[in-house]
């Protein structure tokens, strides 16, 4: 593993809720994660940025149990959850908005939300949360009984986020939530993320191509390159980093 450059000491957050230790994940022969170490503390927004194919999505997949790392460990809320399948993690308060939205196209908007609440048994809570989702994304209320598959790209993105919120997650993994959203709505999404974090204390791990905005709301950030952490530290510091600006923020 190449040395991790640290821009500034980590801000002392709360207790760690997520910890990755020396994680190696593979697609067949391809090593997508090459010994990843990473921590997300309670109440933080952590941004994960990097170019195409850097392994951001793979990292989230590995955390949420969609993939099992070949070696290394994932710790969630103090417990080793390496290789625990996702459906068990969801019950423990982790939510993941996957890349590409993955809503259920043959279910209505409402049904998509109800499925999101699969692990919730309290009928009243479910309805309340659907209501909250509609509040956040009024478009969804308008389209309550439209089939998910016929929603526009951006509408599907909203649905995917609302669906993940149905379990009132402790930890939320977001994979490029702003992809395909209008500029106005991108702002909206980021403010929603911030509010979730501030008002509900939801811990957030955010993967974004829109690095400048992600860094603007994040507490800390990791920069990933070809499966390895190249840089980590305070978000503002990273945003100011010369190489980062060049490579990911599009500055010439």
């Amino acid at each position: 593993m190449t040395a991790v450059r640290t821009v500034a000491p980590h801000t002392a957050g709360g207790t760690p809720v997520l910890e990755l230790q020396n994680v190696h994940s593979y697609y067949g022969q391809i090593e997508a994660l090459k010994g990843l170490n990473m921590t997300v503390n309670e109440g933080e927004i952590v941004a994960l940025i990097g170019g195409n194919g850097a392994g951001k999505t793979t990292t989230l997949r590995t955390i949420s149990g969609m993939m099992k790392p070949k070696t290394g460990s994932v710790t969630y809320l103090g417990q080793n959850v390496t290789g625990v399948p996702s459906h068990q993690l969801i019950g423990r308060g982790m939510a993941h908005v996957p890349e590409g939205r993955r809503i259920f196209p043959q279910m209505t908007v409402r049904e998509n939300l109800e499925v999101g609440a699969y692990t919730v048994n309290d009928k009243a809570a479910i309805n309340a949360r659907i209501e909250e989702g509609f509040e956040l994304f009024p478009r969804l209320r308008e389209r309550e009984s439209q089939l998910g598959g016929t929603m526009s790209g951006g509408e599907q993105q909203m649905l995917a986020i609302a669906r993940a919120l149905m379990i009132a997650p402790k930890v939320l993994l977001l994979d490029e939530p702003s992809m395909g959203l209008s500029p106005l709505f991108v702002e909206n999404i980021f403010s929603i993320i911030e509010r979730l974090n501030k008002e509900r204390g939801t811990t957030i791990l955010l993967v974004e191509q829109n690095a400048s905005m992600a860094l603007a709301i994040a507490d800390r950030a990791y920069v990933l390159q070809t499966g390895e952490i190249k840089l980590s530290g305070n978000a503002q510091d990273i945003a100011r980093d010369e190489t980062v600006r060049k490579a990911y923020l599009g500055d010439e």
Partner: protein, 279 residues
């Protein structure tokens, strides 16, 4: 790269638009996704279509390319009506496209994907293939040549024999563009070509789109939410909102249009520094 200048566009009078869309309308159940949109694209332009999520942009493309049949309205390409044509006939007429969600043929190589695209311009038929006629040989050669040129053009030569599904995301987008170009379109429609790309890659894409217009002479219409790209690349912008045309104009006009700002752009933070306009 002049050897790939291959546009077949007949020199139309500069006044006549290449694409002429009049009063295009489409509803799904109670929802009018595209509402009475009139839209014209002069030849050799780069035009952007923007608008909030669900505004009807993709549907608009689908109507032009024959994937959906419009409820009302006309679509003309260089004076020829396209309404009622099947998608494959639309391609033949000269409009090609890419998809918001990449749709390559995964088990074909990059080269084959492009050769497939070229198919619409090949004249050989069933018996030519079976009997390996001269025409067949010529066709194959042409298809392969096109593939080579196009891969070169979009900078994917190294992936020629690779299955398309194995390409990195950004390269898949470019391959889709190459495939669309292989049909020798007069007009190419790009649906969110920069989605999922980081700013660096978006810059490359910008150059590619310019080259499509400048070097190949193909007119470009694109849908995009990345304002950096839109504002610096397009010569004209059309804004859709709730299916209807909200505004139309030069990038700086659109950027400063208050209606567009409330409906779509917001404070501008998300769009960042839009950069300088093209030209």
């Amino acid at each position: 790269m002049t050897q790939i200048r291959m546009t077949q566009v007949a020199p139309t009078a500069p006044s006549a638009p290449l694409l002429d869309v009049q009063h295009l309308t489409k509803s799904f159940g109670g929802l009018t996704a595209v509402n009475d949109v009139t839209f014209q694209v002069p030849e050799r332009r780069i035009i952007s279509v923007i608008g909030p999520n669900g505004a009807g942009k993709t549907t608009f493309f689908n109507l032009i390319t024959g994937i959906y049949a419009p409820d009302r309205g006309t679509v003309n390409l260089a004076g020829r009506s396209l309404v009622g044509l099947r998608p494959d006939q639309v391609v033949e007429a000269g409009i090609s496209r890419t998809f918001q969600n990449i749709r390559l043929f995964p088990s074909m190589t990059a080269e084959e994907n492009i050769m497939l695209g070229r198919g619409v311009r090949l004249r050989g038929g069933f018996w030519d293939s079976v009997l390996h006629t001269a025409r067949f040989q010529k066709d194959e050669e042409e298809a392969r040549n096109t593939a080579r040129l196009m891969l070169d053009f979009v900078g994917l030569s190294k992936w020629r024999g690779e299955l398309s599904t194995n390409l990195p995301y950004g390269d898949q987008r470019k391959l889709e563009i190459a495939r669309a170009l292989a049909t020798t379109p007069k007009l190419i429609l790009l649906d969110e070509p920069a989605a999922g790309m980081n700013p660096r890659e978006t810059e490359d894409l910008k150059a590619l789109i310019r080259a499509i217009r400048d070097e190949l002479g193909v007119t470009v219409v694109l849908i995009e939410h990345d304002m950096r790209l839109v504002m610096t690349l397009s010569e004209n912008i059309t804004v859709l909102n709730y299916g209807s045309k909200l505004a139309e104009g030069l990038p700086h006009e659109i950027r400063n249009n208050p209606e567009v700002m409330t409906a779509y752009l917001g404070s501008g933070a998300a769009a960042g520094n839009y950069g300088k306009e093209a030209r």
